[in-house]
């Protein structure tokens, strides 16, 4: 069955302001792009300055430094952009189209109402001295310190020998190499006597990096690609670097006046706080985005909250600026002309039944639920993705999902089971994002599936209520399959996890009541796994034939 199409719609007003968090170039570009679309922007930056000064990317030798400065300068000349420096996001409430945010400046806490939020913070860098068994000081410095010195007094490197080490204390990264290439050029311009670069991985897969590498080498920089880090002995004002040169096959020693240690490119310090304030999921490496194949690159688990540039991944400047443009497009998608047509019955809370236990609020993976003191919980039709997790967790059955109400689904269970004659009756609850299309594929390819199989479409496995499973057995099912997306593939982040927990619980319950728990099975699929769908249902049919008909008939 497909969802009802005759759903009544209603038009709602939404706020069109946009908050951009982070004043590096990603934030600047986002603010400019969003403003260009005609939406008012508030740009906040924790530091004192916005633009290149708030960047964590190379601070020296930026080939397009002038262009970036000009971009930042355009902020002040663009109507509808409010720039607040030394300002942090303190708190946020509400949902897409109607966020309230509290911004703490040096003097005050400001309140703004916005329709969308873009997090465009920068990454953090830290020299990896430990990874090379070095202590900073004397001739040993970190990459950032070199960049600062080159920006301040490049002449001090005239006639000096400088060596870099990278790609041994962490896996290689084009951005690490880019910083080195920029410094190599600056050192060569300053008249350094020699530049040596020792690398584990020499990664140049980004715009123009190969050219920068070659130009530096042509001007005399010497690169050594080694299997292991060179031996480094620091003694006062110099370092001695010993290594086996794989080309000349000899042990070589080089003395340098300065050894520059690579830096890690990590999650910005603000990210964890921002994730908590904005209730957005954190990915495995600590960045502000969980992996989800259903989302556009800059989207988060919450509608109306986007992440761009280094807040979601360490990205080079061109990629971060592309993110900024993408985020602006996504913002326009959400805000439109300030009105939005939404289905009235997407997710409806029966306020009379609701006991305000906050279970729905706590379980919603999309942060789509908030509450009003006078009106109990509200599910935002803009932010809600209609996965139905809340409806299945509600202890009062007070939430109904349009097209998938309890009455509709329970009616289907009874009606479909009534059609089964003789064969083992198997009810398969199928997530419409994976198992359902997999089943359709099996049917299209004319794979034979058991005659007693009856599928029931759900918007997400998270909608499969414990009671639907028990109902199916009471109504005469010999077996029940709960078919969800693979771990980590759920469109609603945790719907498949909830479903697997409920199946475990239901197995415990039916075993307690005297029914074989093997009659209930949880399986995961992807949409293109028609053959696997067939294998699972055939296996279940086999199992049921071994167990015999349910004694509940």
């Amino acid at each position: 069955m497909t969802a009802k199409l005759e759903t009544a719609m209603e038009q709602i007003e939404i706020a069109t302001g946009v908050l951009v968090v982070g004043g590096g170039m990603t934030g600047v570009a986002t603010a400019l792009e969003v403003a260009r679309q005609g939406y008012p922007v508030t740009l906040i930056e924790a530091g004192e300055k916005v633009g290149p000064a708030a960047e964590s990317r190379p601070r020296t030798g930026l080939p397009d430094a002038r262009r970036l400065q000009d971009m930042a300068a355009r902020l002040a000349q663009t109507d509808g952009i409010e720039v607040l420096t030394a300002t942090r996001l303190d708190a946020a409430a509400g949902v897409a189209g109607d966020f309230k945010v509290w911004l703490s400046t040096a003097e005050d806490v400001l309140e703004r109402r916005v329709g969308a939020i873009v997090v465009a913070t920068e990454f953090d860098t830290a020299p990896l001295y430990d990874g090379y068994g070095l202590t900073p000081g004397g001739a040993v410095i970190g990459q950032s310190e070199l960049e600062q010195r080159l920006a301040g007094d490049p002449g001090s490197f005239s006639g000096k020998t400088v060596a870099f080490v990278a790609g041994f204390a962490q896996s290689g990264n084009p951005m690490v190499m880019q910083r080195i290439f920029h410094c190599v050029k600056a050192l060569q311009d300053a008249g350094a006597a020699g530049v040596y670069v020792y690398v584990g991985d020499l990664k140049v897969a980004d715009d123009g990096l190969e050219r920068e590498y070659r130009t530096g080498r042509d001007r005399g920089a010497i690169y050594f690609k080694l299997k292991e880090a060179p031996a480094i002995a620091a003694s006062g004002a110099q370092v001695v670097i010993g290594f086996h040169d794989p080309v000349v096959r000899q042990q070589i020693e080089v003395t340098a006046d300065c050894l520059v240690v690579e830096e890690s490119l990590g999650v910005g310090a603000q990210c964890a706080d921002l994730a908590a304030i904005l209730r957005i999921d954190i990915g495995p490496r600590g960045f502000l985005q969980s992996d989800n194949i259903y989302r556009f690159p800059v989207a988060t688990n919450r509608e109306g909250i986007f992440v761009a540039g280094a807040s979601r991944e360490v990205r080079s400047l061109p990629w971060a600026l592309a993110d900024a443009r993408n985020a602006a497009l996504q913002v326009a998608e959400v805000l439109g002309d300030g009105t939005r047509l939404v289905p009235r019955d997407k997710a409806v809370v029966d306020i009379g039944k609701c006991t305000f236990c906050l279970t729905c609020y706590r379980c919603c993976p999309h942060g789509a639920i908030y509450w009003l003191s006078e009106n109990k919980p509200v599910i935002s039709p803009v932010a809600c993705q209609a996965c139905g997790i809340c409806a299945s967790e509600c202890p009062m059955d007070a939430i109904q999902i349009g097209g998938f109400t309890d009455d509709l689904i329970r009616g289907q269970i009874a009606a479909k089971l009534a059609q089964v004659n003789g064969d083992p009756a198997i009810v398969a609850f199928c997530c419409q994002n994976s198992a359902l299309p997999a089943g359709e594929m099996a049917a299209t390819f004319r794979m034979s599936v058991p005659a007693g199989l009856r599928t029931i479409q759900v918007p997400c496995a998270g909608k499969i209520d414990l009671q639907y499973i028990l109902d199916a057995f009471v109504s005469g099912a010999d077996g029940v399959l709960v078919m969800a997306c693979h771990p980590g593939n759920c469109k609603s982040e945790r719907g498949n996890t909830y479903a697997s927990w409920r199946v475990e619980d239901a197995q415990r319950l039916i075993a307690g009541a005297g029914l074989e728990p093997e009659r209930l099975r949880f399986a995961t699929l992807a949409a293109n796994m028609g053959t696997d769908f067939k294998a699972i249902v055939v296996d279940m049919d086999q199992k049921i034939r071994e167990l015999g008909k349910s004694r509940l008939h």
Partner: protein, 226 residues
């Protein structure tokens, strides 16, 4: 709120052994919030009972209802027309609700479907922590908001005892020492001198069921009694 836990099906089944028509009644307040006895749990319990009894070849006819609060007589009145059709009532409320139900429908056996566990707070979905023993003598004002009756294994009003062990209780390292925590928080709030105030011991012996009438309603109670 009051936190309860669903009884094992086996225990419920044994209570209902001789009954063929049973009305299961949920409670829409504390036990619904702690996911033990709301409308959903009524449905689930009924399905379990239905399966179990059918397999036992002793089928049962089950009714389902859920009232706002079983500890208020007015809400129990809503069941008036239904109760007659059943041999027994299975209440999913806390001990107070079950007793009010039994008092309201004195001719019908009322059985509890949950174990009332404690007065607690909700840490996360389905996760509750005991916070109050309803001792009737709240000392939280002088104990920095940490209840020593609940949190201290000895329920000491004046602690800690000699068994405090690097922040934990002598009964085991999973249990923080309440008085250590109280000391820390009082110190943090700059009112450590309050720990020196001696609080008289509570009278725990010979306790009888307590009745509370809020001051503003004492006259109302007198009127009702006369």
């Amino acid at each position: 709120m009051i936190v309860a836990e669903r009884k094992p099906l086996e225990e419920i089944e044994s209570m209902l052994k001789g009954y063929r028509r049973v009305l299961t009644v949920g409670c829409g307040t504390c036990v619904a919030v702690c996911l033990a006895g709301g409308e959903k749990e009524v449905g689930i319990l009924n399905a379990e009972l239905q399966i179990a009894r059918k397999l036992d070849e002793n089928p049962i006819e089950l009714g389902a209802a859920c009232v706002e609060r079983q500890c208020d007589m007015e809400f129990l009145d809503e069941l008036q027309g239904m109760v007659d059709q059943y041999d027994a009532i299975l209440s999913m409320a806390c001990g107070a609700g079950v007793q009010f139900m039994a008092e309201r429908f004195e001719d019908v056996p009322v059985f509890p479907a949950v174990d009332t566990t404690f007065i607690g707070a909700n840490r996360d979905v389905g996760w509750y922590e005991e916070k109050c023993r309803a001792c009737g003598t709240c000392v939280l004002g002088m104990t920095a908001g940490i209840c020593p009756v609940t949190m201290c294994a000895k329920g000491l009003f004046n602690g800690p005892c000699g068994g405090t062990n690097n922040g934990y209780c002598e009964i085991g390292n999973d249990q923080p020492c309440a008085w250590y925590r109280i000391y820390e928080r009082l110190a943090r709030q700059g009112r450590l001198e309050q720990i020196m105030e001696i609080h008289p011991a509570n009278e725990w012996r010979n306790q009888t069921p307590r009745t509370l009438v809020q001051a503003a309603y004492r006259k109302r109670k007198e009127l009702a009694a006369s």
